[in-house]
C-alpha cells in the first residue's frame, strides 16, 4: 500500500469543512483565530444549521470573520456585538445567534454590552478570544494583558499600579444569574481542540434551548503581538496564560430562565 493508494476519498478522515470558504484567511501564521473559525464552521456543518445561524463579527483581527465562515453575518461596532446579537435573537427567536469577540472588544469598550447581555440571559453564544493583547491595531495592552507582560502601550511591562490588573472577565460573567455555561478552552493541541469543539457545540445547543447565555473563552496566542514563533507562543501560553486563566468549566447550570422556550 503506497501513499498514493491511501489518498483516496474513500479513506478520508479529516478535511476542510465546506463551511469554511476558499478565501485564504488573513491571520498571522499560527494564529489561534484560524483554528477557532475552523471549529465553529465544523460545528455549524455538523449541526446542519447553516441556514438558521447568524454570526456577529467584532472589531479586531477577526473583523473579516464574515469572509471565512459561510453564514449570514453582521459586523458590529467595537464592543457592541452583544447588543446586536440581543436584537437579532429576540427578533428571530428560532435562529442561532453568536458573537465572536476579542479581549478589547468584549472586556474593554464592550464591557457594558457584555455584562448586560449576560445579565439578561440572552439566548446567544459568545465566543471570546483571549490572547491578552490588541492584535489588529499593532499589539497594545488589553484588559487581560498579564502583569509584567510587554506590549506597545506598556513597553516596560504591565505595572499594576499604573494599569491595574489582568481582568478575569469570565469569572465575573459566571457570577451573573443570566449565564448558564461559562468555560475556558484552548486550541493549541489536539486534545484541547476536541474539547473546545464540544464546548462550541454545547454553547450553541444551549442557546436554541433557551437556557440563557453561554460564554466560551478561548485562551489563545498572538505570536505577532507577543513577538515569538507560533511554537514558542504555545509554550508561553501554557506557562503563563493558563495559570492566570485556568482552563475548564467555570459554570454549567440548567436553564436560567423560568419558562424558557
Amino acid at each position: 500500500m503506497t501513499t498514493k493508494d491511501i489518498i483516496n476519498p474513500a479513506n478520508l478522515v479529516y478535511g476542510k469543512t465546506k463551511l469554511l470558504t476558499e478565501n485564504p484567511m488573513h491571520y498571522c501564521p499560527g494564529c489561534s483565530h484560524g483554528v477557532v473559525h475552523k471549529l465553529i464552521a465544523e460545528v455549524i456543518e455538523e449541526m446542519n444549521i447553516q441556514d438558521k445561524i447568524i454570526g456577529v463579527a467584532p472589531v479586531g483581527c477577526a473583523v473579516f470573520a464574515y469572509n471565512y465562515i459561510d453564514i449570514d453575518w453582521q459586523e458590529a461596532a467595537h464592543g457592541r456585538a452583544p447588543a446586536l446579537a440581543t436584537a437579532i435573537k429576540r427578533l428571530q427567536p428560532d435562529k442561532y445567534v453568536f458573537t465572536y469577540q476579542g479581549d478589547g472588544d468584549l472586556a474593554a469598550i464592550g464591557t457594558a454590552e457584555t455584562i448586560h447581555a449576560c445579565n439578561r440571559g440572552e439566548n446567544i453564544a459568545i465566543f471570546f478570544i483571549n490572547n491578552a493583547i490588541y492584535g489588529m491595531t499593532g499589539g497594545q495592552m488589553a484588559p487581560t494583558t498579564l502583569e509584567g507582560m510587554k506590549t506597545a502601550t506598556c513597553p516596560y511591562g504591565r505595572n499594576t499600579e499604573l494599569n491595574g490588573f489582568p481582568l478575569k472577565i469570565s469569572n465575573l460573567l459566571a457570577e451573573l444569574d443570566g449565564t448558564c455555561y461559562v468555560t475556558r478552552q484552548s486550541v493549541q493541541k489536539m486534545a484541547s481542540i476536541v474539547r473546545a469543539k464540544k464546548a462550541i457545540r454545547k454553547a450553541l445547543q444551549n442557546s436554541i434551548e433557551g437556557k440563557g447565555t453561554s460564554i466560551v473563552e478561548f485562551v489563545s496566542t498572538c505570536n505577532s503581538g507577543w513577538k515569538m514563533s507560533p511554537h514558542q507562543s504555545n509554550k508561553w501560553m501554557e506557562e503563563n496564560m493558563f495559570p492566570k486563566y485556568p482552563l475548564g468549566d467555570l459554570k454549567d447550570t440548567e436553564t436560567v430562565h423560568k419558562g424558557a422556550k
Binding site: G34, Q188, M190
Partner: protein, 74 residues
C-alpha cells in the same frame, strides 16, 4: 489490534509555514519544505510518510485548514 496507515495532503498554497503541524505530529512525519509557495511561505510536507498513522493531529491544529488526512486499517 488494528493498525492504521495514513497519509496527508497539504494545500501548499494555503499553508503559511507556521510549523504547528510539525510540532503536533506524534510520529514526526512532517517537516518544512525547501520550496516556497507563491506567497513566499515554506509549506509543510510529509518527510517520513511511512510513519503516518492518520491520527489527524496535524489537521486539527492547522489554523488554515490546509491538511486533508486519509487513513486505512491494515
Amino acid at each position: 489490534m488494528a493498525k492504521f496507515k495514513g497519509a496527508v495532503v497539504v494545500n501548499t498554497e494555503r499553508c503559511k509555514g507556521c510549523e504547528l503541524c510539525v510540532e503536533a505530529c506524534p510520529s514526526h512525519v512532517l517537516g518544512m519544505s525547501d520550496q516556497v509557495n507563491s506567497k513566499g511561505y515554506h509549506y509543510s510536507e510529509m518527510k517520513h510518510e511511512d510513519d503516518c498513522i492518520g491520527c489527524a493531529a496535524c489537521g486539527y491544529v492547522c489554523p488554515d485548514a490546509c491538511i486533508t488526512v486519509y487513513k486505512i486499517t491494515i
